[in-house]
Symmetry: C2
Subunit: 340 residues, 2 copies
């Protein structure tokens, strides 16, 4: 039986395998990304032939979820539970996909931390014996996110210097108590995040808003497990972007911690070098597509052996920020290792 | 160790106690409800002295959550995880409360099914050994929900005949592996819902939208456990309202099932007999305040011994309904019994 260790961390008793995985990206920036060769599916048309971006995002979520199931030769009927969510109000990309797949569904909302939230809760359900196969998925779409959180695209509003571009992408993992794919990729532990609101209310400065919650989770993980950064080959944050990544380093330095060159941020990486990119990328699909694209595949190629994966979520409400409230943020960490 | 039985149901291996509980309601209808004597906290001012309704709902969520913790003489530092969500975009009532309480937090989105979604997932975490004490909470507010989903209150738009009034209320349960309160109230099993969209797109006809998902969960629970309605003293749905409750009875009759007078619906009950109430009530706070008010207290008074509790959620998106999509709905069931 698994157990809790320390204040925020759980350790799994048995191996919980990432037996299936799928990454999907859609759009010009995503195709031009230096990591696009690692995505399982790359689409140039970010409408996917649908008549609205929201319907396109629903197709992206569902395609990635099915991709992870198919990867390990399961059928949707083998899935005990699906856990997932997305950035859209009422998590409609996840909800409509769950209706299509007709599997028992727990809707999550963790903003861009959803990939690790679903992996952490999903692994507890597998390790606890409640399901053999649990599907974890999330997505985001540049155009649906801009419409909902910022300005209508049609206005052509310029980006601010701290802005991050939402990734049009999706990612899914099929967790299983069996190593169905023979890849030996295992979830070993996870650290649940505490929500923090640290004085940022700007929808164009999300990295800065999320960095304190990310630092808190990383420090709690080290304290709860008795480890330090040297234990991990890679420490991978979700979408802090370039500015948020510098803030994270500063915050950790204040606590006398140094990630010692192990830190990589999906949001700083995915659109690196592309035109008009300010502080990087964001969105649930950013960390999800990079985990299931570049990072898991690099692990399979023997580039590294273990990682702490910490997507960060800004639970940004247009209503509450207009009412003078700050952005509550959360980050959940999961430890992923290639064993044996 | 717990296990899955059948396609959608899990059975807990050990007793998972509802060791703490709190129900809160705010507003004139809530105070005038024939069940108001069962609420732990009844407030007449639905602003709670705050300057916005959203801030008031945040206070309601937090107060109910703390109430459940205090009920069994724990402190927030004893809470391993909080699971919860609410109707507002980015689940801000839950998110800001989680920041205040500073406990590890998993955000859920199941619309008005959130009370049972949190109980079902939370009980798996306790039974799986990942936490001793898990806090489950949700809330809703009439004015925040109308602003977000329907018309600004200032317009004075008349209700349609199928409309349901959102409850301004909150409810929370503290799940524990120990019977901290000595009340012997136990979660025994639960059935996870499948998302269904059955051709309803009207934000004023939620009961009809949710009834098919509710029927599916109830039938799956009976099939997975080999039970029928006679096993339960009470079968309690969340907020189908009067019309949705009739639809549920019809749908079950088509499957040759009859709830045999055991069915009660929180949404049909809470505002019964009050002026201008059409098809009843709705909102996460409806089922949550009735469970932690009338139903748990009736159980403690010996009125009945076990119940199947099935809040229903309509994941209603203004964007997707404008795009011609139906409302995806889900219902999760939990079995609650007073043991010994």
């Amino acid at each position: 039986m698994g157990k809790k260790t320390g204040k925020q961390t759980v350790v799994f008793a048995k191996n919980v395998y990432i037996a299936g995985h799928c990454s999907l990206a859609a759009g010009k920036y995503e195709r031009d990304s230096k990591y696009s060769g690692f995505f399982d599916i790359v689409l140039e048309d970010d409408l996917l032939g649908e008549d609205t971006w929201e319907k396109a995002e629903h197709m992206m979520f569902k395609t990635a979820a099915l991709g992870a199931v198919n990867y390990c030769k399961l059928k949707t009927g083998d899935v005990d539970f699906m856990l997932g969510g997305d950035l859209l109000n009422q998590i409609i990309s996840a909800g409509f996909s769950a209706a299509d797949l007709a599997v028992p569904f727990f809707g999550l909302y963790g903003a861009c931390s959803t990939m690790s939230e679903s992996l952490l809760v999903g692994a507890m359900l597998v390790d606890g014996g409640f399901g053999e196969n649990v599907l974890c998925a999330t997505s985001s779409h540049f155009a649906t996110a801009e419409r909902q959180f910022r300005m209508p695209l049609e206005l052509g509003t310029p980006n601010t210097t701290t802005s991050q571009k939402t990734v049009s992408g999706a990612g899914a993992c099929l967790l299983s108590k069996m190593d169905l794919s023979g890849e030996k990729i295992v979830l070993k532990s996870g650290t649940a995040g505490i929500v923090m609101e640290m004085g940022i209310a700007d929808a164009n400065d999300m990295g800065a808003a999320m960095a304190p919650a990310c630092a808190q989770t990383i420090l709690a993980h080290f304290e709860d497990t008795g480890r330090d950064a040297a234990y991990y080959d890679k420490i991978i944050t979700g979408d802090l972007g370039t500015f948020g990544s510098r803030m994270l380093a500063d915050l950790l330095k204040k606590a006398d911690f140094d990630l010692m060159g192990r830190h990589m941020d999906c949001g700083a990486m995915i659109f690196e070098g592309l035109p008009d990119i300010k502080c990087g990328a964001s969105g649930c699909g950013c960390a999800a597509s990079m985990l299931n694209g570049y990072f898991i595949k690099s692990m399979l190629q023997g580039e590294f052996k273990n990682m702490l994966f910490i997507p960060t979520g800004a639970m940004l409400s247009k209503t509450s920020t207009l009412q003078g409230c700050m952005i509550p943020c959360v980050a959940h960490a999961v430890e992923i290792e290639r064993v044996g």
